[in-house]
Amino acid sequence: MVMTTSQMFESLGKNQAFLIHRHEISLAAFSVLRRNLRKLIMQLRGTDDIESIDLSERLQSTLSEWLTAPISFDELFLQSVQILGETSRVEARWGQDTRLLIEEAQAVAWSLFTSENPLRECLKGVISDLHERQRSFRISCHRNSLVHFISLDQPGLGGSLGNHVFIHSLNDYKQSDPFDALIKVGPLRSRGWGAVPDAFLSAPKFPVLIQVLWPGCMDEAGVGFDPVISLNEREGIESSGIAWSTEVISKVVGPPMGTDALPMEDELQIFREMGLALSSNTRNEKSLATRVQIDNDNCVFYHPHTGVPSFDPSPQAHQTIELRLPGETLKEGMYTIRTLFRQDVDLGDLKAEDGYFTRIWKAELNKVCKLDAQDVCEQLRNHGVNLVYLESAVEKWCAPPTTVIRSPQQIKHFKALIEVLGLNQSSDRNLGESGKEWWEHAWEEIRRSRGEAIQEGTLQQEIIRDQVLNILSEMLYEIRIHVAESDEFAVEIPPERGLKVTVYFNKIYSVEQGFRIPDGMFEKILERHRTEQWLS
């Protein structure tokens, strides 16, 4: 239930002052780690090698998360640094400087391993204090970071970290009642990691904003933007009656590492500028896009003014299945609808339906990984799959196909995988007269599932899409059963309706505007970490 206008004005009238408590936590070892990762990211980004850039993007994603979420210094943290692989191979590939950076980063990460992150400690203190004083509060965080916040919950916090406490989007904020304090880890930024709605500052439903963050992380200038307030400010006219004052509380934790004078840089700002610089060269070849995140790792871009087939599961929805505009009527909690035309593949005696190849290679991969995953990785390396984070990648590829097929991103890596699994040589599979090899059929299946392959002509697609949406409107009972069970599911259009179509439903985690992407990237499933570069 959205609060009424009167309630909003009552709340604003009641809060005489608006305060930001900024808790800055310094930990020398973590500062060294940040610096080294930042340097690595910059070095790798400067290359023209796909894997280096991919690695750089992953590290950027990791570091951005560290700066905007209360991470634990646990195994996952350690693994994040170890994705760089063995240092001997790193030196061979990227040189001694890079190796030294990585070695130091890994050593520091080891030194932090299992110790308590002081930022988490501070955050627990803040929450516990609010809980004791019976103050209502909300926590602003990205949906992907939720797990770090949930893990903070302990008896002292009285189980106060229920779902209702978290604000992930502007829509969540609009739905929220007034409260006493908003907690935010990391700086206030308008886009990307740490992004918050401008309304937090320009239309606050709370008198106190508590920020817990690492040093150097600056709030982006202009967060809380409102065009009218900004217009008046230029004329020296104060207009909305909402003014924030900031109180900084600094805390230094742990021993110094000879790096007391280490200048703290604002990585999030650096990454943003890096992205802008990269995109400015090709700005004219890119289009405005809205990013719709469909699970923890993947997202799809849509044109902001193109209707997206979607399903709204809320009981209040007038029209459950229809085309909605991203950011305007397409919102978190709804489901995107993607259609895949099932194509039989002619295998001579038998015809294989969609998913046939994926089921086979995934089953085979799971089987061999259970026997010896290390050996699989070694063989893949011998076949030229030189991903430094190969172990974790293989683990992902083993995941069963759902609405997204987790697989190698590059065609040469996929071919190598199929060769290692011995499926190309499989004599008991007649591949018909297509002339294609087994791996090519399997790759085609993956491409189509990602929305990369052209399925039909545009007009024909539109006609079929409308037909599919009409049929789905008659299948609401079945769809609602799926919705109750899962955030992603597939529905097959009954064959008697004359369409060989599988419909994929994915719950929308977030809808974010402010991207400019190359035209070829629309409506494809992309790994989220790859897409930060397109923030406009």
Binding site: P197, D198, D226, N232, S239, S240, G241, G327
Partner: protein, 293 residues
Amino acid sequence: MPCDSAAAGFIALGAMRRRLEKPEAHDLGIHYERILALGKPDPDNPILIHKVERGEWEFAELIRYGGVRVKRADAAKKKNQKAVFSYGKSIIPDQAGDWYFLGEPQVTGSEPHYLNHYASLLEDAGNIHIQNLTRSDRMRGVCLVGRVAGECATLNLMNDVCFKAGGENRNLAELLTIDGWSSFGSSSGPVPRVSFVNSRFSDSITNHIRPSLVVVDGDQALLRVLVRSEFDECDIVCAYSRTVERERLEDLGAKLEHLSQWYSVDRDSLLAYPRSPRGIAISMLKKRISSWS
């Protein structure tokens, strides 16, 4: 505004209420001019309806000493009806209010609606010119431009705001008297004193409607209004919520920046304005006047 609200409706109602004080604020004059203009080529709406004698009427001739003669337009369609219509009817200024154009609301009503509500609406207001409550004012009065999500989005918000006066509850949508928003039938309901434009569609508004004030509901609707030539000569007030995505705020900011070539912040008026409630920010732009003019 610090949240989604019916602010645009309040502004439109306040402006409409002020116009109720002005004896000349009604459509009768323009309405009669439109009737006279039926004799010219390509009138924007050639069909008239009489409040009592139903059926469609069209221009026959101008009367030498003033007025217009009209004849039945639907005679040809109704084979059974004979040519009793050849005499037609005359329309002179005093009778113009008995006629209205096909597809448009009536310009005069039989009784003044919502007098208690309008009378008690503003503390410092002047007296209402009571005849205005039975005369429409949609052609030169206030025009409300609805949000891009569609007419219902604006209407639903206005329906939720209730005013009580003289023991009677009326919602904002009713008090705005926009044609089609009233629960009354067209003949017994209030005459429209506010016109409405749906910003979702880009169809031009008809030529005869040239409001003096346009009140826009929402930032996106404002961006659409600012590129429409029909509103070039109007004063425009927009109410929007700050609780929208950054992209939208930036689009609006860019538009205001662009406008600053021709408009500047009206500091004097702004500073003379009473302080607004906390959370509401108001700015005013006025056209720059060239020092040569």
